[in-house]
């Protein structure tokens, strides 16, 4: 059965008509062309598909798009300012080499930004615990943890100017 859904995605009102079993990750990637949200495991394990639904991080590969009807969604593409100024968390990942192949990066960044909401002064241990649902096969996490620490601090200080 086809459904028509309304959602606000990265600040824009979007209307999509999809099958009732469509996954949020597919709607974002295929219908809306927001391919920065990656799918690494299809089963809610790896975190590559993490987006924010009404401000809370969600693994979009295991959420039905229908469940997001009426919701406000932010994906990695919606994080930087319209003029291209990076969000402090994005800037920190770049700065601290918290990425290699980059496939996990969007999910890591989205997850880390949500940590700032829950625990703005998270300790290293809390950061590591929070990131347990995000797998990175390349970096060994060392630089990711460093980046998240910096990102959290910079978010509090209103963001470092990191225009590219």
């Amino acid at each position: 059965m086809a459904l028509t859904l309304n959602m606000t995605v990265n600040g824009k009102a979007r209307k999509v008509t999809v099958e009732s079993n469509a996954l949020l990750s597919d709607v974002l990637r295929v219908n809306l062309g927001l391919t920065g949200t990656h799918v690494g495991c299809d089963t809610s394990q790896c975190g590559a598909c993490t987006v924010h639904v009404d401000g809370v991080s969600v693994k979009s590969c295991t959420m039905l798009a229908a469940q997001a009807d009426g919701a406000t969604i932010t994906t990695i593409e919606g994080l930087a300012a319209p003029d291209g100024t990076l969000h402090p968390m994005q800037a920190a990942f770049k700065e601290h080499h918290g990425l290699q192949c980059g496939f996990c990066t969007p999910g890591m960044v989205m997850s880390a930004v949500d940590l700032a909401r829950c625990e703005p002064n998270a300790s290293e241990e809390q950061i590591r615990e929070w990131l347990e649902g995000n797998i990175c096969r390349c970096t060994g996490y060392h630089n990711i943890v460093k980046a998240v620490k910096t990102g959290l601090t910079d978010m509090q200080s209103g963001g470092k100017v990191a225009a590219e």
């Binding site: 089963t43 290699q100 980059g102 995000n134 590219e164």
Partner: protein
Amino acid sequence: MKLTPPARSAVHHPHAHDSALKHATGAARYIDDMAEPRGCLHTALVTSRWAHARLTGIDASRALELPGVHAVVTAADIPGENDVGAIVPGEPLLAEGVVEYVGHPVAAVAARDLETARRAAALVEVTAEPLTPVLDLREAVEKAHYVLPPSEFLRGKPGPALADAPHRIRGEIMVGGQDHFYLETQAALALPQEDQDMLVHSGTQHPTEVQHLVARLLGVDMNAVTVEVRRMGGAFGGKESQATIIAGIAAVLARVTGRPVKCRLDRDTDMMVTGKRHDFLLTWDVGVDDDGRVQAVEMTLAARCGWSVDLSPGVVSRALSHADNAYFYPHVKLTGLFCKTNTQSNTAFRGFGGPQGMMAAEAMMDQIARTLNLDPLEVRRRNFYGPEGRNLTPYHQPVEHFRLPEMLDEVLASSDYAARRKAVDAFNAKGGVLRKGLAVSPVKFGVSFNKPEMNQAGALLHVYTDGSVSLNHGGTEMGQGLFTKVAQVVAAVFGLDLDRIRPTATTTGKVPNTSPTAASSGTDLNGMAARIAAETIRDRMADVAAEHLGAEKSAVVFERNMVRAGNKSVPFGELAELCHVARVSLSSTGFYRTPKIHFDRTTNRGRPFFYFAHGLAVSEVAIDTLTGEWKPLRTDILHDVGASLNPAVDKGQIEGGFVQGLGWLTMEELVWDKDGVLKTHAPSTYKIPTARDVPRDLRVDLLADAPNEEATVFRSKAVGEPPFMLAISVWLALRDAVASCGPAGHVPKLDAPATPERILMAVQAAKDTA
């Protein structure tokens, strides 16, 4: 007047990954992110339910009735030859006559969307008569069930020397396999072109091989197939030969339907279908003196190759050539067994057999030390390669420029080893439930492909008339930073800022006949080829500059985006324009082949490696003797990357490699059931290290002031694989902790991966001995 800002040095500088901004903003495109062309079809595979069976029928009629299904192909539909064997022929893309493992692709469906393709695949009826499979590695060893005959490295007379040795010690360990778990699963997009041409976007480390085998599958010449790859979301060896399966299926379906076809495996299918790291059964018989110095050794390294040969000859050869690790064996015989089992066909994985070979050496050193009640660290040091007379490897290459003895002193001091050793022993002497372990392990890794002919590379470089540079080479980017490093090399040659160099997608249409990006050699080979191309163009530009500036050519320097001679200068871009006006070519290829190397595969002698990369790790762990759970407490690493082209990228490789190795040796466990079904085919059951599983205290240092003695690109050393094996220190530290539960002289029985379950059993065995 505008002053030129000082250019940051192009090489030996921690530049960010060339795609860092795109990665952080989600703008980097992987194959599944590319805009789908009109009419693009999607793929699902039909795979074997049997570990071994004779196929009696494939009925696709119900699948074909489903609306939206465009084709179901089986072996019979392949236009050319049904063979994707990487080294030896005889490995069909789609099973023919027999299936040889659970997951073996039998047919493939193309449909208008993924869901329809999956539904159709489930409707394809495959019938077969089951045959008896061989599933267990030990069983294959006992039955001498091989895909290839054994291979042997021999030096001296190990038999008599063993018999004469004061102590003779025999041992064995099982070392498990490993799934690559590249975060981006395997993917390809095949686009039929005019005539019979096919363009394939393939997530592959080896575009040339995909081109070659797609041409063979389609029955066309190689010039009718172009393979392109901009980046992969991780590969680690898993996209070397295995990528051909996915690209091949997409290309065959594209040919049959005349439409673009995308094939992206979901995670479970990827893990069920594709090959992994070889698990090994390692056994040794070693003769030592009272000080633990090896007199002679015989080892057997039995590899699980799975159902087919794939890249196993190279993997076993590298295992044999690293079973010495850093140690001199005066008399030695190493035997490699290519065991055939009805499981996935094992393949390249970071280290390519080297890690498994080194595990034999390190487990043996540990056993020697514990059996003779000697300090494992001392035993290692005593057995290190030395000056002439103690410097010949089992493959008869002398070890030159051996850096480990000095590096060992350095890391022992920087990690405060001696004091911590005492502290750990004192802690364990209290006899508590928690025990600690501390261990040091070295890595000596040979750099170059074991097969000399693979050590060549090409590059293609264009300078445009605005002074911007387009760079292409045969190497592929999988996250390791190759594109960044090679661009740095080119920027250094031209004296340009790095952002003037644009790395472009690897394609067989620009640089042909390439080797895979593997064996850690990506930068060594492609960096050199690009450097040669850049120097060719620079030389031509220098002629024009000399004339323009009225100076001797020898006085012309390229720096800070300018070209100078004496006190006159011209911006690089302007000079490019002048060259164009003067009808001087601004485009060049570059070609490099590694010097000095040779290897005779019939005698297994020669100089397969241009040089060695070295590393050392000191790891401390704590175990809970009641549950087997453990924690990595601290790891200190000192690693030799020569004169690093990019310290940030290199450190990233070391940290990531170490953690991947730690996963292999302690938590990643592949389990097949009695019918040969892989039960660990998703991260829910296959445990990948997370941010919580790694040492909080990880100190990584690059060996300082250590340019490569060999003339590599800017005197750097390869870094992709060697750090992986630093994780052996963690496994040894776990053994150390277990050993403290037994009496002196107790040798822990601990296979890899050392899961909590295995640690607990080893603790129990140690206590029972006491």
